[in-house]
Amino acid sequence: MVRVIARLLPGPSLMFAAGLIAKGYAEVGDGFAAGVIVALAVALAYVALGAAGAEAALPALRHAPKAAVGGLLLALASGFFPLLLGDPPVTHRPGPGEHVTTIGTLELFTPLLFDLGVFLLVIGVLTVLLHHLARSREEAAR
């Protein structure tokens, strides 16, 4: 039972995280919380299936380092691109008072990129952490 849930949970957790990010600016939740929630689902997989089992069941996990680095780069890029336009870092666009295109509660503006970067980074970092703690133990046991 736990194993079945552990296999299936990452999917819904991603949906939930997407929801948190989409309404992040309007209501409770942000990229960080969304990232930790997905990572918790991954953690459950590690606990229930073991490192080897979890990584076999969820092959996408091996991209975690890329997600971490890519997320950091995305966040840094969205933070520092205003420098190219002559603004201080972390100046978000559109500016105060300007119109923001929205799809439901999802606002299309640069903080969204920032949030996505944080989200990816948190998933990546925590997954790598779990991987190391679980893997090294299995390796030691062998």
Binding site: Y25, V28, G29, A33, A39, R62, A75, V128, L133
Partner: protein, 748 residues
């Protein structure tokens, strides 16, 4: 190591030649873009600007740094290849060398053109950082590492004086811009203090007594580094700063006199020590101390003539000294020897090098028909203007120079042949020939050099300077002084015993009482203090926690005693949701006590988790759902990771629990109580009287204008976005740290 040394030519040194091309491009830029400049805001809130201008002084030092740089780099392409071959190191180590060398040249040009005092400081330190890596290039050798550290410490610590001066001047005049500072500064105590601090930084950089001892050590560097460092970069940077802020220095007679004294002392100490050195590069290193002493002395004399002479001197010395260092390097490469006592009679075997080195030596010794003649002519003229003391000093200086450089050249190229000579590479000789040709050319047509020096001196004197160096066949004081110097120098040359004792006594005194000892002693003492503190802090985790908690508790205690307490602490009323909060808080207390008393690690982890979840529930109840959400998910993750990490520890044995030293246990309890009480008092006081206009109101007010409804998200992503960026970067760094500790750096 499978380095093929069987006659195949090594691959071309591409990074070296790239550095050379960059230097040539910089040379062209300095030559043709004179007068250009730009100024961009850097940190407007701190009043800092990226202000650069290619004025006269910048052109002079820029041309020197790039021109000598290009030749030294060309020389270095060959030298470094041979050097790495000799040491059986792979050719790829070039990449540890040329980027620093290029940065060295770039930061020197940046320093020359910078018009902002903080910017000057940045480039000043940048040259020191470059020199650190270059001097320590042979990092397998202990001496090289020590020397690199010494150069870095002496010059960088002294450079702090420059930063202090910049802040002082900014406080007084409200700007870091050098032209404006020079305009606004009036003779005052602040000006004198700032000028003295600037001078200290510059003098340490220019290796002046008593901070000269790092320079002879720095010859541990590969020869191209020494050639560049002594002539056009590092050491020249100090004099450059003196020239840049000279109008400020001239506001204080005391500072100027100080410069004369330090300069004269350096001339004598450097010159006398250079007389008896045996290692080629050491002779030249002490000579550099002495030569920069001349320039410092000239800046100390002040006025138009002396400023012009100093600028001219930098140019002439840079040309000669780089050529002489490269000569020493070429000789060592060809013979494998680096001591005068084991070399001799090379004149017939490497005639081209002998002639070129001869021209460079003549330049340093100020013989006619070289550009060096005029440097001494201008020096003598400035000395005569100042008075009899400086006249004597100038003649002594020129005498010493003549004697030690004469000994250097004669010892190398004349006399009985000693040492076996291998093939001298063309690329190791050609740059020396080019520099020698420039020096002789300057001895015939001095005009272009004089114009360069004039423009530079106009900046540093703050008034138009005209110079007209030339040959005059009459008995004017300059000529008489020159002849006297040659005669006395010649006497020292033929009667070395006159100076043997003096030089040896100097060296012995320097060993025993010199600043080197102070440096070593300071370093050792600092090491001991650091080791002691580290020992105390690391040995005992509780100790290091107490080191934070106890002072914090004491400070709060002091604040508690010092401020009025009437009405500051209130007990509120319990109502509504508080009835849920109180049991949660009780749960926190219980869990905390369990944490402190538990003897099984797992229980500690779980009890801490209880504390965390109870607090998360509290956040939800007091209207911070965002924080509550993050707290819950993070607490879950943290507990998991905590338990996972604990499982890696060796299995614990509850029976072997050691209660520990009772004194220490009492101490721990005391520290915990103190810190806990202090935190309690502080929080109680704060909650009794929340600050009236806190920043959070502002955050709430501004949130809609950031297109947000949730203030926490907006703070994280927008208001304090830069903090978030730094924090997430730390996150990645931390996980790399875990990977390094647990799995030797493999990220997956």
């Amino acid at each position: 190591m499978a380095v093929d040394r069987g006659g195949t030519r090594p691959t071309a040194d591409r990074p070296g030649w790239s550095a050379c091309v960059i230097a040539v491009a910089g040379f062209a830029l300095c030559l043709f873009a004179g007068g250009a400049g730009f100024s961009l805001p850097w940190a407007p809130s701190l009043d800092l600007r990226l202000a650069f201008a290619l004025d006269g002084l910048a052109v002079l030092y820029g041309l020197l740094a790039t021109g000598v740089g290009a030749l030294v780099f060309a020389y270095g392409t060959r030298y470094l290849t041979l050097h790495l071959e000799h040491q059986r190191r792979p050719a790829v180590e070039r990449w540890r060398f040329w980027p620093w060398m290029t940065l060295f040249a770039v930061s020197m040009v940046g320093l020359a053109t910078a018009q902002d005092l903080v910017l000057v400081f940045v480039f000043f330190d940048l040259t020191a950082v470059c020199s650190y890596f270059l001097i320590g290039f042979d990092r397998a050798e202990r001496e090289a590492r020590r020397s690199a550290l010494m150069a870095l410490l002496v010059t960088v610590v002294a450079a702090v004086a420059m930063l202090v001066a910049a802040v002082l001047l900014h406080a007084e005049h409200g700007t870091f811009a050098i032209p404006e500072l020079l305009d606004r500064a009036e003779p005052s105590t602040t000006t004198t203090l700032a000028a003295a601090l600037l001078a200290v930084a510059a003098l340490a950089k220019s290796a002046q007594v008593p901070l000269h001892f790092w320079l002879p050590k720095a010859m541990a560097a590969p020869t191209p580094v020494s050639a560049y460092l002594h002539s056009a970069a590092m050491v020249a940077a100090g004099v450059l700063v003196l020239g840049r802020v000279h109008p400020l220095l001239a506001r204080s007679e005391a500072v100027l006199t100080g410069l004369v004294v330090v300069g004269a002392a350096s001339v004598v100490v450097g010159g006398v020590l250079a007389l008896r050195r045996d290692v080629l590069k050491q002779v030249l290193a002490y000579s550099t101390i002495s030569q920069y002493g001349y320039m410092v002395m000239l800046y100390g004399i002040g006025g138009a003539a002396a400023n012009g002479a100093a600028a001219f001197y930098v140019l002439a010395h840079g040309i000669a000294k780089s050529a002489l260092f490269m000569t020493a390097g070429a000789v060592t490469m060809a013979t494998g020897e680096d001591r005068l006592s084991r070399l001799g009679g090379l004149g017939r075997r490497v005639p081209v090098l002998a002639v070129a080195a001869g021209a460079a030596s003549a330049t340093l010794a100020a013989l006619p028909l070289t550009v060096g003649f005029f440097k001494d002519e201008l020096l003598f003229a400035a000395a005569v203007e100042r008075g009899p003391v400086t006249v004597v000093l100038a003649v002594v200086a020129a005498t010493l120079t003549f004697a030690y450089i004469g000994r250097f050249w004669i010892g190398l190229f004349l006399g009985p042949a000693r040492g076996s000579v291998g093939a001298a590479s063309t690329l190791l000789v050609a740059p020396v020939v080019v520099l020698a040709a420039v020096a002789v050319l300057g001895g015939v047509v001095v005009e272009p050099f004089a114009r360069l020096a004039e423009d530079a001196a106009t900046v540093s004197a703050g008034e138009p300077v005209t110079m007209s160096p030339g040959y005059h066949l009459d008995a004017r004081p300059e000529n008489l002084m020159a002849v006297a110097a040659w005669a006395l120098g010649g006497l020292l040359l033929v009667l070395p015993r006159l100076t043997d004792g003096l030089s040896r006594a100097f060296a012995a005194a320097g060993e025993r009482f010199g600043p080197r000892r102070a440096y070593d002693g300071t370093l050792r003492a600092l090491d001991r203090v650091s080791a002691a503190v580290h020992d105390r802090e690391v040995r005992d985790l509780r100790g290091s926690i107490a080191a934070v908690l106890v002072p914090a508790g004491l400070l709060i205690g002091v604040a508690f005693v010092a401020t009025p307490t009437a009405g500051a602490y209130m007990v509120g009323i319990v109502e509504g949701a508080d009835w849920v909060i109180l049991p949660l808080l009780a749960l926190v207390v219980v869990a905390t006590v369990v944490t402190a008393r538990a003897r099984v690690r797992l229980v500690v982890a779980l009890a801490l988790a209880v504390v965390g979840f109870a607090l998360a529930a509290l956040y939800a109840l007091v209207g911070a759902p965002d924080v509550a959400l993050v707290a819950v998910v993070v607490e879950t993750m943290l507990t998991l990771v905590f338990v996972a990490a604990l499982s890696r520890l060796p299995r614990e044995d509850p029976d072997r629990f050691v209660p520990g030293d009772p004194v220490r246990r009492r101490r721990d309890v005391f520290a915990a109580l103190l810190a806990g009480l202090a935190a309690f008092v502080a929080l109680w006081g704060f909650l009794s009287q929340p600050a009236a206009d806190s920043v959070s109101d502002e955050h709430l007010r501004l949130t809609p204008s950031a297109h947000g409804g949730d203030v926490v998200t907006v703070i994280v992503a927008d208001f304090r976005g830069l903090d978030t960026l730094v924090e997430i970067t730390v996150l990645l760094v931390a996980v790399v740290g875990v990977a390094t500790l647990v799995r030797r750096g493999r990220l997956w």
